[in-house]
Amino acid sequence: MNKVVDNVGIAVEGIKDNMTLMLGGFGLCGIPENSISELVKIGVSGLTCISNNAGVDDFGLGLLLQNKQIKKMISSYVGENDEFERQMLSGELEVDLIPQGSLAERCRAGGAGIPAFYTPAGYGTEVAEGKEVRDFNGKPHILESALSADFAIVKAWKGDTEGNLVFKATARNFNPMMAMAGKITIAEVEELVPAEHLILMKFIRQEYSFNEYFKERALKRE
């Protein structure tokens, strides 16, 4: 099976209106920027996006927001985006803000076949409203459920033709968990190398299965 596609247009062509997407990245670090630009171009709408942040006004997910293609955001922090705040306060955009560690673990759980887990984060706050509370070792915890997505779109530093990935520094962030939690995962890589070049990662990352994959030169960020 050939996992490499020629361009970003082919990679995202399965993404349709009203789908749920996971997008890797923290701030503007390790975000699949070319895939996001392509989604703006093809104009899919009604999207539910699971991503730690929402980009800035003119970069990353901010571009999809400007274009009103996002129906709902599931994030932990959206402070860098004025358009986001405007759409949220006016009620145009549905927003689910959840603690960052819970978001990461919910993505991990989704990819790992764990339907739910207990965490102390958010107990006694509005995050806990409507959630089951249970004491473990005398400490209250809340039940959080796994997240999954129709497509996960991740960004990696290097990828090989078999879909093994290497992440650079803090550009790793949410990308590995999301890569596991998408029904289909698209990896945007800065450098595509032959399979034998990442043989070491094969042992570490062999659990990942990439159905679609493409090479696109990374745009230099500020």
Binding site: M88, L97, G101, E105, A121, T170
Partner: protein, 218 residues
């Protein structure tokens, strides 16, 4: 008069112990890294996925793929490690990070903290703060004693949406070092030149004063 932000950071730095892993929040807490006491080594964890954070890079040396939780470019120390966000919060939830320092808008005498949301005004999200305060054993809040309007931030109970309940054990402000225990703020130290009466008048929550309260040594 009281301390400035640098003074608060210097006082908190005295709490660091050799070998600790420490998570510093945005704002005053970040400054703590500048005042590590002589002869001890600590490693700074940033929840976006790095343990062993170093100083800010010189101009021209920035790497867009190497940032801290405040989205500033950073450097790393020898032996630093990188990991994904789930692993990072496993370190935090699993109590492998010995000290968390963060800012707050309000702290209550029961140890509740509010620092993420002002309804209808500021709704940016909690980021990693709820995970940090719910899990860390040793949390120090770094903040000014009163807000800009002169209203006490050390309260009987928080008025803003909570970040965590009964989790803060120590608060360092521009006026004092306080421990939270048994539903009260216990005054441990005064900032140089600040009287017990002034601290009392600027603390809305229950304040307990035991005997003579020493001045901080900075």
């Amino acid at each position: 008069m009281g301390l400035d932000k640098t003074g608060i950071a210097k006082r908190i730095a005295q709490e660091l112990r050799d070998g600790w892993y420490v998570n510093l929040g945005i704002g005053i807490p970040t400054l703590v890294a500048n005042y590590i006491p002589q002869g001890i080594e600590v490693e700074f964890q940033s929840e976006n996925g790095v343990l062993g954070m170093g100083p800010f890079p010189f101009e021209g040396d920035e790497d867009a793929d190497l940032i801290n939780a405040g989205k500033q470019t950073i450097t790393t120390m020898k032996g630093a490690s990188f990991f994904d966000s789930a692993t990072s919060f496993a370190m935090i939830r699993g109590q492998h990070v010995q000290l968390t320092v963060l800012g707050a808008m309000e702290v209550s005498e029961k140890g509740d903290i509010a620092n993420w949301k002002i309804p209808g005004k500021m709704v940016k999200g909690m980021g990693g703060a709820m995970d940090l305060v719910a899990s860390a054993d040793n949390i120090i809040v770094a903040m000014m004693h009163s807000n800009r309007a002169g209203v006490s931030k050390l309260l009987k109970s928080c008025s803003l949406p909570l970040t965590g309940v009964a989790c803060v054990k120590k608060v360092v402000t521009d006026l004092a070092v306080l421990e939270i225990n048994g539903g009260a703020f216990h005054l441990l130290e005064r900032a140089p030149g600040v009287s017990v009466e002034e601290i009392q008048s600027k603390t809305e929550g229950r304040l307990v004063v035991h005997g003579d309260v020493p001045e901080m040594s900075l």
